[in-house]
Amino acid sequence: MISPDLKIAIAESSLILRLGMEAVLHQLTGLRIQVTEVGEGESLAESLHICHPDVLLVNPVMIGGSVGIKQLKNECDALHLKYVALLSVQVPAEMLRLYDEQISIYDTPDAIKQKLDVLCNEMSSEDGADDEQQTLSSREKEIVVCVVKGMTNREIADKLFLSTHTVITHRRNIARKLQIHSASGLTIYAIVNKLVDLSEISVNGEK
């Protein structure tokens, strides 16, 4: 159970469609997919909150059409989540406006794979810094140093003359580039890459 490439939540009230979709997703070659099923519209926002999927495959009718999707987007505030309409019947085009993609239950596995690949690419290009995903910009390195020294986002923002919002965005990009999310993990990165000296962090770094 190595961490999957793609976490997909399927929100569809029909068990048959849900399981069928899941079976098809698991058949797709070249993608390690982890699926979470959601059977009821009411528990959707909570489920998204718990399992943080990359893609939400949702029956647009189940969540209450265009109003529902708008509400859901507001409620779960997941910037990187891709919304894909799972279509088993024809629905008005207006209802699909807020979705990133649509998958019909009549799509072939190849077509589904292609759509997911496109979404995956979009996601990784949103990760910023184009192809040099691993290297941090000098601004990001500055922020790593601050985080490692135990500074809060507010303090970092003040020191570097940035808004806290920008600091948070930088931190998110750093986490994604390095695949390191914790302050103590960043500390190892910073020490190994000689961005800071151990003596600078031991003072504040001890929690």
């Binding site: 159970m1 190595i2 961490s3 899941e22 698991h26 058949q27 070659t29 982890q34 699926v35 979470t36 099923e37 718990i50 691993q134 390095l178 695949q179 390191i180 999310h181 914790s182 103590s184 993990g185 500390t187 190892i188 990165y189 020490i191 190994v192 890459n193 000296d197 151990l198 929690k207």
Partner: protein, 252 residues
């Protein structure tokens, strides 16, 4: 059947009571941990799964449910009919798993890790050690919470005592993935470790890979079997309570 034969490391089929225990373990060697967490020792000869379980006082249905859940690599809550399980047995299983991680696995990895990174610069060794210790203490906290609050609560439920203050939903919401940070350690060692490679370091890395998977499976069992089974029990207690006090049960 395997989903993809080339990627499938273990035989993936549904095990039954009449299958030999030795076949299960040989097909799928991580099951040796599952077995031992149920308190079943090695040396079962030619006996089948049903016989070995009943000999060791283990509810065979619960054993098979967990084994098949893990063998099939399922990542969703089990449906209600599959959740009629022995919560006592699941708690034994989870408790032994906690004991394994906290009192054996982590100390063991730590000893090996410290020795393996002894040759790299002292400051790097220091922060890696600190990272590991912080992580181990987080997992310790996480598991201690379950031991201290969740298990006693379930034992109470089994005796018919509910709690006004607590329900498993509280736990469900705060239950986080304990393997995320060890994944991070793995990434850091693979991508940024500055010292010389060694057999010992590779071996630690293998241990970390295995532990990462093991912890993920552990969380899956808790989230998709244990918690739903408790919710089912809570529901049936609430219903019988309603029936006794003569309320109409409007919502269930």
């Amino acid at each position: 059947m395997c989903k993809e034969d080339n990627e499938c490391m273990y035989k993936n089929r549904r095990y039954k009571e009449t299958d030999k225990m030795s076949d299960l373990i040989c097909d799928n060697y991580p099951m040796v941990l599952v077995m031992s967490r149920f308190g079943i020792p090695l040396g079962f000869g030619e006996k089948n799964i049903g016989e070995v379980c009943s000999q060791n006082g283990v509810d065979v249905k619960t054993f098979l449910t967990i084994v098949n859940f893990l063998a099939e690599d399922r990542h969703e809550p089990l449906p209600e009919p599959e959740l009629q399980l022995s919560l006592d047995s699941i708690i034994v299983y989870l408790h032994n798993a906690h004991d394994y991680f906290l009192n054996f696995r982590f100390p063991h990895i730590r000893r090996k890790l410290v020795e393996a990174i002894a040759s790299c610069p002292a400051d790097v060794a220091f922060v890696i050690r600190r990272f590991f210790d912080e992580y181990a203490s987080e997992v310790n906290q996480h598991m201690t919470y379950e031991e201290k609050y969740v298990f006693p609560y379930v034992h109470g439920l089994l005796k018919g005592q509910g709690s006004a203050k607590y329900n498993i939903g509280v736990f469900k919401r705060r239950h986080n993935q304990v393997e995320a940070k060890i994944t991070e350690l793995k990434n850091i060692l693979i991508k940024y470790y500055p010292g010389e490679g060694s057999h010992l370091l590779n071996s630690v890395l293998f241990d970390i890979f295995a532990t990462e998977n093991d912890l993920a499976s552990h969380t899956y069992v808790e989230d998709y079997i244990f918690i739903p089974a408790i919710q089912l029990l809570e529901k049936s207690i609430a219903n019988s309570h309603h029936d006794k006090s003569g309320f109409e049960n409007s919502d269930c």
